[in-house]
């Protein structure tokens, strides 16, 4: 620690930072624009000026930029010196010259860093009397709105978009007071993390376009701490609601996970909650159609169905632990089935087993960022676990920091570091059947069939440790590549292997595990990170459900009286005929879901389940971290948490013990008892009885307006705010006015800090953990001592050989399109590709197929017609079928199939 003086008071601060960051950690309100904790310092805006003094006798001092001043022993600065106070006010006056002063109609208003900083500096009167420069705005696609006149030229947007996120279609144009931030021409921003511009831009230039359609000020939204449900990473989010509809999602900082950023799928998919396809009332099949009915009637019907026993339950990787557990309690552990594709369940179990046995540990996203050599086996991470791709993009900088360190450039001095490093990049190797969105920062890419990707992995492990299984018949080329990968990983301080179930290949997962094990044996603290497909894939797997195929067999044998399907569209899990057979095989099909999915449409009874925004529950992410999400608002009508419906079903079936499962805490306690692997769920967040200073935590900001009037059209007397028996949060602006514990922060706000950058005030240190530690509990750690007997796993597969008549189909993924719920969000839907199959250009010529041609695909007993897309880079003999895309049939992949021209 280093001693510095701020306005003559001594403080101890960390030495490896700039004075701005140190001052913010110390809690001072020092205004800034161009600096951002994730982007570092460039000294562009001059807003963070302070006075620096030579020593205690120096009374005059000189003005310096705090973001460009390193912490140093004995350093003396003043924030409050009148001269520097006036300087900061003058700076903002200059930056605001051409600002339209249109806060009342600006979407940023009320949560604007520019407003906050303007108030903080005391600049409150415009003297500039001349023409302002004005710009034409661009259409940047469905996610981000553009209003350039509000720009203060801080350059954060391009620094984030280009340097941090790797986008190339946003740029600054022109010069002087004409500088324009935008695209070369109108068009959708190409980067998958463009939505973060909304938070990065300190003004109203870039705002959330989806929010615009149902705009509400931040202070009028009701929030809750939530978890993203659109992939397996579990990024923390803060969704906001008004008048019963979800209005937007912003990032909820988590030091170990998502940090300051979300992916666009996570940010812009919330609108599925408001979808027309929502099930809002119980539905009962009558006269061959599903008709709305009352809760009492449906429970009555359920009572008679459930009385017969032989009820099978199908759980879901997109439902909470509590919902799955309640289903398991209803049907019994031996009748609880995993609602996942067979391969997926097998591979998830395998991955979890590997992570439990070790020796390699699975890192958090933050640790992934700090890795200094990475091998990715068989994943297009941007499409399957998007936020991880952003973390990996930062990892290639780790080794290059040595260049800066040699030149004694502090790492926070962002552009000096980038200038020194130039195009240099640390080692990242990607093996995948196709181009991935991280290829631009990869040192080498290897495009091959899954078998070959696994063989490369095995070869790397063998190159690291001769006792690892050897790959027979390895080509010279592959051997050399394996050698280079092994060398780079061996030379690294924190090597990382990334893989996952994308290719549905056990061998690929074994290969990844073996590379990590070989590194551990060589004494390296290797990380091993697996992506998982859905928000609770890990949680469901830890419950130990039986495979879906067994439920299908039981149905075929006519052994199923009733089938209860939890938040799951089985048509996405297995081929159509199989699901049809399963649904027909059961006498009664009961579906609990939020959307009327193809599966729900077949049911006899559909119960309206709450989405993440209308329920509380716990999800386990790919890292094995159990995290609690809280209800944002109370939905109208009969929508409720699936676990509540299941409890009512149990009661209807005469199961007395269910009466005790009254609240979330009760369910969690029962779950922890029944399933030791999940015992820690009760620690994921404080229980409902938790109070701060005797009060609940308010979900709404204290400035929340109109509560007395918002229902006046229905009833002039104000309704009582709904109770929340499940959490220590209140559906109100009343309650504990200060900072809650980290798992319970609904939104970031602090006096004088209305923008999302109020998060500064919630962190132990800037960019560090939230006060009291980041939320969630890790359930999976490698067993200590397993290193010694950590034997290598699996065996290298046979080499891939091309067939004359058939293509080997591998699954392809799309960030916008492959995930079920986000498809229902209109903004995301605009970006979903049309159904297609991808084939290698080389093969297309032989099949006489051109781009856009229609072709018939016969695959695993299914036949479908799809448009051809040529992929230059795909190896010969391979073809790709997009997974989960609307209009593409579910097929078990990979598989050999035939393509014919029609």
């Amino acid at each position: 620690m280093t001693k510095v003086y701020v306005d003559n008071r001594p403080f101890e601060v960390r030495p490896d930072q700039c004075m701005l960051q140190a001052c913010l950690t110390l809690g001072f309100d020092l205004p800034y624009f161009c600096w951002h904790p994730a982007l570092g310092s460039v000294g562009a805006c001059r807003q963070c000026a302070v006075k620096q003094y030579k020593d205690e006798n120096d009374k005059k001092g000189r003005i310096v930029m705090s973001c460009m001043t390193p912490v140093a022993e004995g350093l003396r600065i003043s924030i409050h010196d009148p001269e520097v106070v006036a300087f900061r006010a003058a700076i903002i006056e200059g930056l605001m010259e051409s600002h339209p002063h249109d806060c009342p109609v600006c979407d940023e208003g009320g949560e604007c860093h520019l407003q906050d900083m303007t108030v903080m500096t005391g600049h409150n009167y415009r003297r500039y009397r001349f023409n302002k420069r004005t710009f034409r705005n661009q259409d940047l696609g469905p996610f981000v709105n553009h209003e350039m006149n509000r720009c203060i030229q801080c350059y954060r947007c391009v620094r984030y978009y280009r340097e941090y996120a790797g986008g190339r279609d946003l740029k600054e144009f022109s010069m002087r007071n004409q500088v324009y931030f935008g695209r070369y021409e109108d068009g959708t921003l190409e980067n998958e993390f463009a939505g973060n511009l909304v938070e990065i831009c300190p003004t109203g230039v870039f705002t959330d376009k989806t929010l615009k359609r149902h705009y509400t000020r931040k202070w009028d939204l009701q929030f809750a701490p939530s978890i993203c449900v659109h992939c397996g990473l579990g990024c923390n989010t803060s969704p906001g609601e008004r008048y019963g509809s979800l209005r937007r999602i912003v990032n909820r900082y988590h030091g170990e996970l998502n940090g300051y950023f979300l992916c666009d799928r996570g940010r812009f998919s919330y609108e599925f909650v408001n979808s027309e396809r929502r099930v809002r009332q119980p539905l009962l099949r009558q006269d061959n159609g599903l008709r709305p009915t009352s809760k009492a009637a449906v429970l009555d019907r359920l009572k008679s169905i459930l009385a017969f026993g032989k009820v099978l339950g199908i759980g879901s990787p997109r439902a909470s632990l509590e919902a799955n557990f309640a289903l398991r309690a209803l049907v019994g552990a031996e009748r609880f089935f995993a609602g996942t594709a067979p391969a997926e369940q097998r591979l998830t179990s395998l991955m979890l087993q590997i992570l439990r046995e070790g020796p390699a540990r699975t890192p958090s996203l933050h640790e992934i960022e700090l890795s200094d050599a990475v091998l990715i086996l068989g994943e297009d991470v941007t499409q399957t676990a998007p936020r991880m791709a952003l973390a990996l993009r930062q990892s290639v900088r780790q080794q290059t920091f040595q260049i800066a360190e040699k030149l004694k450039i502090p790492l926070w001095l962002d552009h000096a570091v980038r200038e020194a490093v130039q195009e240099e990049k640390g080692p990242l190797f990607i093996a995948a059947p196709y181009v991935t969105r991280l290829d631009d920062v990869a040192r080498e890419t290897y495009r091959a069939a899954p078998q070959e990707i696994a063989r490369l992995g095995f070869a790397v492990a063998h190159a690291l440790d001769g006792s690892a299984p050897e790959v027979a018949g390895l080509s010279e080329e592959l051997r050399n590549l394996a050698g280079r990968v092994a060398q780079a990983l061996r030379d690294a301080k924190r090597p990382l292997v990334v893989s996952g179930p994308s290719l549905n290949s056990e061998s690929v997962i074994y290969a990844a595990a073996n590379v990590a094990s070989a590194l551990c044996r060589a004494g390296k603290p290797a990380g091993l990170s697996f992506t998982t497909p859905e928000c609770n894939s890990v949680g469901l797997n830890l419950m130990g459900a039986r495979p879906l195929a067994e439920a299908m067999e039981a149905a075929q044998k006519g052994e199923v009286e009733a089938l209860v399907i939890l938040e799951n569209d089985l048509y996405r899990r297995a081929p159509r005929q199989q699901v049809d057979a399963l649904l027909k095989g059961a006498k009664h099909v009961i579906v609990l879901d939020s959307l009327l999915t193809p599966t729900a449409s077949q049911a006899e009874i559909v119960l309206p389940a709450g989405t993440f925004a209308e329920s509380d529950g716990t999800l386990v992410n790919n890292e094995g971290r159990a995290q609690r999400f809280f209800q944002v608002f109370v939905p109208q009508g009969d929508i409720r948490e699936s676990w509540r419906w299941l409890r009512e079903m149990m009661i209807a079936a005469g199961r007395r013990e269910a009466a005790a499962l009254e609240t979330l805490d009760h369910v969690d306690e029962a779950l922890a008892q029944a399933l030791p692997a999940l015992a820690a769920v009760t620690k994921a967040a404080p229980s409902a009885s938790f109070r701060e200073a005797g009060a609940k935590i308010p979900r709404a900001p204290h400035r929340y307006s109109g509560r007395t009037a918002m229902h006046a059209n229905i009833n002039v007397s104000e309704p009582k705010p709904p109770d929340d028996p499940d959490s220590p949060l209140s559906f109100s602006m009343e309650g504990y006015p200060d900072q809650p514990p980290s798992p319970l922060i609904p939104f970031f706000w602090s006096p004088a800090w209305n923008s999302i950058q109020a998060v500064n005030k919630f962190q132990e240190e800037i960019a560090g953990p939230l006060r009291g530690g980041d939320p969630g509990v890790r359930l999976i750690e490698p067993t200590p001592g397993s290193e010694a007997n950590g034997a290598y796993r699996g065996a290298p597969p046979e080499a891939f050989s091309v067939r004359e008549e058939e293509r080997f189909f591998v699954p392809l993924y799309h960030i916008f399109g492959s995930e079920e719920l986000s498809q229902q969000a209109p903004a995301v839907a605009e970006l979903i590709p049309k159904p297609y199959i991808a084939i290698a250009t080389e093969d297309a010529a032989r099949l006489q197929l051109k781009e856009g041609d229609e072709a018939e695909v016969r695959l695993n007993g299914s036949t479908q017609r799809l448009a051809i897309r040529l992929r230059e880079e795909m190896p010969k003999g391979l073809a790709g079928l997009p997974v989960g895309l609307p209009g593409v049939e579910t097929v078990e992949l990979p598989a050999w199939g035939k393509i014919t021209r029609v």
């Binding site: 946003l170 740029k171 144009f173 022109s174 010069m175 070369y184 195009e423």
Partner: protein, 154 residues
Amino acid sequence: MLSPEELREIESEFPHYPNKQAVCIDAMKIVQKHRGWVSDENLKDIAELLGMSVDELDGVATFYNLIFRKPVGRHVIMVCDSVSCWVMGYERLRKELKNRLGIQMGETTADGRFTLLPIVCLGACDRAPAMTVDEDLHLNVDPQKLDGVLEKYK
């Protein structure tokens, strides 16, 4: 499409720079030399040749006032509007030019002969007001001398 000649000239710059992107300014100057300005289509072609996004290249193009992204006349007049020329009355010169050519700043005469643009200090403050026409520097330009100057450019 870039002409074979433009391509050859651009490619001959490659050896002088550490990477292709670094050639971007020269590449645009080469195209401008041949065509007078850099069109959207030219910009896309150059970007592709250099492995840049169009956005990146246009960011560079629009930073430099001597890269023209709109068509210009056969001759480009640039009048210095910085401080010494202001003291020495560039405003009269500018007014005179606008009158004679019948155009505003940033415009081109109907016959395509002249384009009129402002420029910052030309480093000729001791003989202000100064202006350039194409590559030529003209010093102490008083409005009476203008005819003589403009005559030379057909």
